[in-house]
């Protein structure tokens, strides 16, 4: 059980740009924190600095208030699960699990009982005498997890442990990891580039890009209120539609003109936005699921569109349509909905749920 705190942490390789640039993060005791971002965003480097596998160029990392910058990885009492599992290929499963305990001089009978308990929890009891190369990817993954668990560390560090599994197994392991976290209550830092993992597993997610933290928050909070264009475009699939437009004042009402469509911003919104009309350019964001085929008694705003592509996924239909101004957006529609490609289609946007971003700073203009 432990709190992990990062204060102004940076990592610079050679003379290059910072891989991690002055980040601050507080991970609470028992929390499942997901570090999410595209490859090269610094999430793995951050994890490796916490583990002690990378030196820290600047800043401090604390575990339970204790500065660990210069403490050997062996003494941090963390356990890490690697993307490719990093099992010891020449040892059988039991020896893989026992290795860390033996090095820590845990008594033999205790080692045995802990291995058996862990193997039972993970359902790998039958594999104990096998070598890693005789195991499937999923089994290796469990062994790697077991090797981390058996040590009973103060926190688990997961470095994309699910990314080498096939889609079905990945979904199963997601649920199992969450269950495991509920049972053990140990702090977990989980690095991934998969936003589904982030949304489903994390107590909180920390979205990173180019070495900086873009946003930290509960999954649904971040999903509902992305702090900037990057987060808006990164979370969910298909991501939020982002359309360049400009404000126009027409009498009392404030309008936005985007790709040939004029949207009237509801009065209470216009007030909430405050001085936004002083800016001319704006980026409007609307999620595909906030676009409908009916007007909801005129409450939604009508858009004349043309169908570009139809992706019938089964549980839903993703419709890619072109706005009058040429911009293509996607809409998440009912699974039975069909329209021929090239045909004209009236869609309705729930602009109560729209997001506005400043094109210069890329930040959300108003966080709701």
């Amino acid at each position: 059980m432990s709190e992990i705190t990062l204060r102004n942490v940076s990592k610079i390789y050679g003379s290059d740009d910072a891989a991690v640039n002055n980040i601050n993060l507080d991970i609470k005791d028992g929390e499942f924190m997901v570090l999410l971002g595209p490859s090269g965003c610094g999430k793995s480097t951050t994890l490796r600095m916490i583990a002690g596998l990378e030196s820290i160029t600047a800043g401090d990392i604390f575990i339970d208030g204790k500065l660990i910058n210069d403490i050997d990885p062996a003494e941090r009492d963390l356990a890490i699960v690697f993307q490719n599992y990093a099992l010891y290929p020449h040892m059988n499963v039991a020896a893989n699990l026992a290795f860390g305990l033996k090095l820590r001089k845990v008594p033999k009978d205790q080692i045995e009982s802990r291995i058996l308990k862990t193997a039972n929890t993970l359902g790998i009891s039958e594999l104990l005498t096998r070598r890693p190369r005789e195991l499937s990817g999923g089994q290796q993954q469990r062994v790697a997890l077991g090797r981390a668990m058996v040590r009973e560390p103060v926190a688990f560090l997961f470095d994309e442990p699910l990314s080498n599994l096939d889609a079905k197994l990945r979904a199963t392991m997601r649920t199992e990891l969450v269950k495991l976290h509920n049972d053990l209550g140990t702090t977990i830092i989980h690095v991934t580039h998969d936003q589904v993992e982030a949304m489903t597993m994390g107590d909180r997610i920390c979205i990173m890009r180019k070495g900086i933290i873009e946003q930290v928050g509960k999954p649904l909070e971040v999903y509902r209120n992305p702090a900037n264009i990057f987060v808006a475009g990164f979370l969910a699939s298909p991501p939020m539609n982002l359309i360049e437009g400009s404000f126009e004042q027409e009498g009392d009402s404030l309008k936005i003109e985007v790709s040939g469509i004029t949207l009237t911003i509801p009065a209470h919104f216009a007030n909430a936005y405050g001085n936004v009309h002083s800016r001319k350019d704006v980026i409007l964001g609307i999620r595909p699921e906030d676009i409908y085929t009916d007007s909801n008694d005129g409450r939604y705003t009508c858009m004349e569109t043309q169908v570009v592509a139809v992706e019938a996924l089964g549980p839903e239909t993703i419709m890619v349509v072109k706005l009058p101004g040429g911009k293509e957006i996607s809409a998440r529609l009912d699974r039975s909905f069909r329209a021929p490609i090239g045909s004209a289609l009236k869609l309705y946007a729930d602009i109560e749920r729209m997001h506005l971003f400043d094109p210069e700073t890329e930040k959300a203009i108003v966080a709701r």
Binding site: L53, L78, A86, L87, H90, F99
Partner: protein, 296 residues
């Protein structure tokens, strides 16, 4: 119909493959299989350089003679000592150098060059070079130690010194082979288990014992086997530097056979010894290989 066409193609491919490999196979037969068979056959005949023909079949007499040979055991003992001493020391030095070089990033190619230089020299030249370096009166070795007020050493003339001198020269010449082979093995080891071990609480030393050594086992087997076989057939440096002497101090088996053939002029007996040596080496190699792979 399709399958027939395919098998026709396959036959054509096979014929083409045979044609491509035929010259190589022919050379291989001429320089390896033929001499081997010739030696095998000759070992059953009274074939001497005075009377070089296969007229007198003597059965296993040549082999019997080898067993009765007075000095053969001495020579085998010298060979064993030489092989064990040089291969083991080469392994120790080679592994240390490989470990050191594996963690070096700058000037790596430069170190490679230095390391490989002795290996590129012909063994006869190595022998000549060292004979000059180690010359009792004129050699630079004795001059160098005289600067430290150490009495000159009769490197190749003293029975005890000569053996270790030959071993030392062989190590100088061959250890880089071991180093390069082991270095290639080290470079190809996966990085992840080390990181896992560090987080698991392993020191550098326990990483070496529990991860490097076991993972390197296949490479170590190959390196030891190769050097082991090469060392048994060492000939050039002994021929150049000591001619087996002084006394029998450096009379290793290859030189012993050479003397039987070209001083004793008894090709039949020399062939019998060669075949016996081949069988011994083969048996040892198979045994060692089986033993070491069974550890995996």
């Amino acid at each position: 119909m399709n399958t027939r066409a395919a098998s026709g193609l396959e036959r054509g491919d096979r014929r083409f493959g045979l044609m491509l490999t035929a010259p190589g196979l022919a050379v291989l037969f001429l320089v390896i299989i033929f001499p081997l068979l010739f030696a095998l056959i000759t070992s059953f005949f009274d074939y001497t350089l005075i009377n070089p023909n296969h007229d007198t079949f003597v059965g296993l007499d040549n082999y019997q003679e080898v067993l009765d040979e007075e000095y053969i055991l001495t020579s085998l003992w010298v060979t064993l000592k030489f092989v064990l001493a040089s291969v083991m020391i080469e392994f120790a030095i080679g592994f240390s150098v490989a470990l050191a070089l594996n963690s070096v990033t700058r000037f790596k190619n430069f170190y490679y060059l230095i390391l490989l230089a002795p290996l590129l020299i012909n063994p006869v030249v190595v022998g000549l070079l060292w004979r000059m370096i180690l010359h009792t009166e004129l050699g630079i070795a004795n001059y160098a130690i005289s600067l430290m007020n150490i009495d000159p050493v009769n490197w190749l003339g003293n029975a005890n010194a000569a053996f270790w001198t030959v071993v030392m020269v062989d190590i100088w010449h061959q250890f880089s082979f071991m180093a390069i082979l082991l270095l290639a093995g080290l470079a190809s080891l996966p990085r992840e288990p080390y990181e896992a071990a560090r987080v698991d609480g392993a020191s550098s030393f326990s990483c070496f014992i529990h991860i490097t050594l076991p993972l390197m086992r296949p490479v170590i087997i190959v390196a030891l086997l190769l050097r082991f076989v090469f060392a048994i057939k060492t000939f050039d440096i002994v021929f150049i530097m000591t001619k087996g002497g002084p006394g029998t101090a450096t009379d290793i088996i290859s030189y012993f056979i050479y003397r039987a053939a070209f001083f004793g002029l008894d090709i039949g007996r020399a062939s019998a010894m060669s075949i016996a040596l081949l069988l011994i080496v083969l048996a040892l190699t198979i045994y060692l290989y089986r033993y070491m792979t069974s550890l995996r």
